[in-house]
């Protein structure tokens, strides 16, 4: 393999692929990047067996071929090379990187040991505007669990929403649940509802973050694939039954509260300094948030709000409350309550696209 390419493009290719290399590899080969050169393209791939990234760049290929080398080493040298043309040549044992005046050799690993990286084939099932896909991930992913004992909750459900012919992204750790309806172009009819590791979705959001490109999505060989420009992220699915969340939606028959999101964020942040759990009091025209840590200190703050319905007091884990309030996408935030022991709802004002359901804390 002999390829040359501009250092800038080559570096960006390698850094993108490196996102797929786990910092804690289970097999040495997984610390490597698979580099392929053929028909005018240089392709870099990586995988941690849960997710793989395959990305490509135009290059002048003098001799096609493939190799696997340490991702970290290749990434480090690419980052430090001066601007200009870089040539990459694989020999029998070493990949040689040449830049103006410099020559760097990286020991090759066995390309045949590298896991098969899925290649996108055919058309996408549906396409989502990049910005709205990213914000859907940001709005929901924090509700996901990191507890490996309940694998289903470490993923986000992506299910088709036939009513709106869009998809809904849902995440929960059993203490709170977030969902977001996303508009798509194309048909969702063929989409199979599935649970995708939230870690992977966060990576997709990060990779899509730099560009305005649409995110194309499809299901292939029981794996979910996301294509953003020249990058393809493939993810394994999480087996299992996602909890039936629809029954949880609080009706908010008892009390509804509307107030400015930024104001509430500030009050919650201050309250958190004094305790993990917030006593959240709803009164005729204001809220009162109190927290305390015995023998350490306490806080009390009132904030004006439009309240309809009964007055009540409910307890929340401060962190979960803040996550929900921050995820709201409108200037005003709407909260609905049924009972201090039952889930409460936080949502965008006058919109049904985003909902955050939070289970209260029973305060003592």
């Amino acid at each position: 393999m002999i390829v040359s390419c501009d250092r800038e493009k080559l570096n960006s290719l390698v850094q993108t692929a490196l996102r797929g290399v786990s910092s804690r590899v289970t097999m040495p080969i997984l610390s490597g990047l698979l580099i392929n050169a053929e028909s005018g393209e240089l392709v870099a791939s990586s995988t941690d067996l849960e997710m793989s990234i395959r990305t490509r760049v135009e290059a002048s290929v003098k001799e096609s071929g493939s190799t696997v080398v340490s991702g970290k080493l290749l990434g480090d040298i690419m980052k430090s090379l001066p601007p200009g043309e870089v040539t990459v040549e694989s020999g029998e044992k070493y990949l040689v990187v040449r830049s103006t005046g410099g020559e760097y050799r990286i020991k090759e690993l066995m390309p045949e040991d590298f896991p098969q990286i899925p290649v996108w084939s055919g058309d996408a099932s549906f396409k989502v505007q990049g910005g709205s896909f990213i914000s859907a991930i940001h709005q929901t992913s924090r509700a996901s669990s990191s507890d490996e004992k309940r694998p289903v909750l470490t993923g986000s459900l992506i299910e088709k929403n036939l009513e709106s012919s869009g998809v809904r992204m849902v995440a929960t750790d059993s203490y709170r649940l977030a969902w977001k309806d996303v508009e798509v172009s194309g048909s969702v009819a063929e989409w199979e509802d599935c649970i995708i590791p939230t870690k992977t979705l966060n990576e997709v959001a990060r990779l899509a973050g730099g560009s305005d490109a649409d995110v194309e999505t499809k299901m292939q060989d029981k794996q979910a694939m996301f294509r953003i420009g020249t990058m393809v992220v493939t993810s394994r699915l999480i087996e299992g039954q996602f909890p039936n969340y629809k029954q949880l939606i609080p009706k908010g028959e008892k009390t509804t509260v509307v107030l400015a999101k930024e104001d509430l964020v500030a009050v919650v942040r201050r309250a958190m300094i004094f305790g993990h759990n917030i006593r959240f009091g709803v009164y005729s025209d204001h809220l009162r948030l109190t927290t305390e840590t015995p023998e350490v200190g306490d806080s009390k703050e009132e904030i004006a709000a439009e309240v309809s319905g009964e007055e009540m007091e409910i307890g929340f884990n401060a962190g979960y409350l803040l996550d929900g309030v921050l995820a709201v996408d409108t200037e005003k935030i709407e909260m609905r309550f049924d009972d201090p022991q039952k889930p409460a709802l936080i949502k965008d004002f006058e919109s049904e696209e985003f909902k955050y359901i939070i289970m209260p804390v029973r305060l003592r």
Partner: protein, 442 residues
């Protein structure tokens, strides 16, 4: 603090507290050597001993077997921590009437700042006499007291005053009072430090005060400088009243090193229960769980886990502790000690769960279950209600557990360091069978 009047710091120290309480509960012990800690045939250490036992050379933290050889005629008791706690709280109730500035220094001692109470109660020395008289009259317990301008001098004062006495060191007289005393009387001077000082020809606190602080620092490090100040009666430390506990810990040494890992697991559950009960009593929850394991060769390991949702439920703590234990376990190696420590303490609350299913509402149900058990135990004692898997562990039911050691001997036994250890061994309480038991709290 009063700017014109010098500080008036009282150190009050209950005399042979555990033994005094035992005598209160069983007057037949009066005048006899009493040793609290357990049976001399067991592996424990002396938690407390009466003056009669001390006459035979017995002292606290001494192995029980040794105490048994020195003083075989003593009455050996397992100890009843709940009873000690009950009386400790009654003492605290009396102290609280005189000043809000109280720094508890253990289950049986405390510092009080009496500087501000002259107007309300009169001169500090008068107040001290009144406090001691009330403790004696209302509770029937002897207490020694030291009164001076600083913590260290008052602490030494109460030590010198024992048994059942009161020493007042007037402002300006601190150095003079300390000078003739042997250096071991200063808090923090243990056997090792004492030997180092003796090697330097220092025998009294006065010798120590004459040494330049730099010289002492070069021998003992930064502690040397502090010690030098203390030797001259200088100690500006303020009292730290109501210091919130940073951690709650309990640990247990097995009677015999064991490879019965099921026994260890059950013990972990018992320890988790005790820790969580202490948490709930203080309205706290933990976010960091640690398990400590000591093998028979004294290799000691700790493993931690951080929780996202704070808990005060032993069920959750035990689930994590069990897994941490699995991670520490070396199969085939005998275990000497196991401990549970909870830190990252925050205000309590019970986080509910969203989904229906077997686990639905479990957390809330457990919450009320634990609350009910706490109430029962508050009235009838810890062992009045036990889980099946831990019922065999308590000393009156099974002899293989030596003791349950609070992280430190302290009010509510909850303000221990995570490393735990403590010094003295205290028995877990037995069911209330003896007469003369206080009606509540034990």
């Amino acid at each position: 603090m009063n700017a014109t009047k010098p500080r008036a710091i009282l150190h009050i120290d209950m005399d042979t507290f555990f033994c005094s309480v035992e005598r209160l509960l069983d007057p037949a012990l009066e005048g006899r050597p009493v040793i609290v800690g357990g049976d001399p045939s067991q592996r424990g250490v002396v938690a407390a001993c009466s003056y009669e036992a001390r006459a035979f050379g017995v002292h606290s933290a001494m192995p029980l077997a040794r105490a048994g050889r020195l003083c075989p005629q003593a009455v050996y008791l397992r100890g009843d921590f709940q009873a000690y706690l009950y009386y400790s709280r009654r003492v605290r109730d009396i102290l609280c009437e005189y000043t809000p500035t109280i720094e508890p220094a253990g289950i049986d001692e405390a510092y009080l700042d009496l500087t501000g109470c002259r107007l309300a109660f009169g001169e500090p020395a008068v107040v001290v006499r009144e406090i001691r008289a009330r403790i004696a009259a209302e509770l029937g317990l002897p207490a020694s007291a030291g009164l001076s301008t600083s913590k260290v001098v008052s602490k030494v004062g109460s030590k010198v005053a024992k048994p059942n006495g009161f020493v007042e060191v007037p402002p300006g007289g601190e150095a003079g009072f300390l000078a003739p005393l042997p250096v071991e009387k200063l808090p923090g001077v243990g056997p090792v430090c004492s030997t180092t000082l003796t090697d330097l020809g220092i025998r009294t606190v006065g010798d120590l005060a004459l040494l330049p602080p730099e010289a002492l620092e070069s021998v003992l490090g930064s502690w040397g400088r502090v010690l030098s100040e203390h030797a001259r009666g200088e100690d500006r430390r303020r009292l730290e009243p109501g210091r919130a506990p940073k951690s709650v810990s309990r640990e247990t040494t097995f009677d015999n090193d064991t490879i019965d890992y099921e026994l260890v697991r059950c013990t972990l559950l018992l320890l988790a229960e005790k820790c969580c009960r202490a948490l709930r009593a203080d309205g706290l929850a933990t976010t960091r769980i640690a398990v400590k394991l000591r093998h028979s060769d004294f290799r000691t390991y700790m493993k931690f886990r951080t929780l996202k949702v704070p808990t005060d439920q032993e069920q959750t703590v035990f689930a994590a502790a069990g897994e941490l234990f699995e991670g520490l376990l070396e199969r085939g190696v005998r275990i000497r000690l196991v401990g549970v420590a909870l830190s990252g303490l925050v205000g309590a609350g019970c986080q509910g769960e969203l989904f229906e299913g077997p686990a639905a509402g479990r957390s809330l149900k457990l919450d009320s279950l634990n609350e009910s058990i706490d109430r029962i135990r508050e009235r009838f004692g810890f062992s009045s209600i036990l889980r099946g898997s831990t019922s065999e562990l308590l000393p009156d039911r099974r002899s293989s557990l030596r003791d349950t050691i609070p992280g430190r001997l302290h009010e509510a036994a909850s303000e221990g360091s995570a490393a735990g250890g403590g010094g003295a061994a205290v028995r877990v309480p037995q069911p209330a069978t003896r007469s003369g038991r206080p009606p509540r709290g034990c």
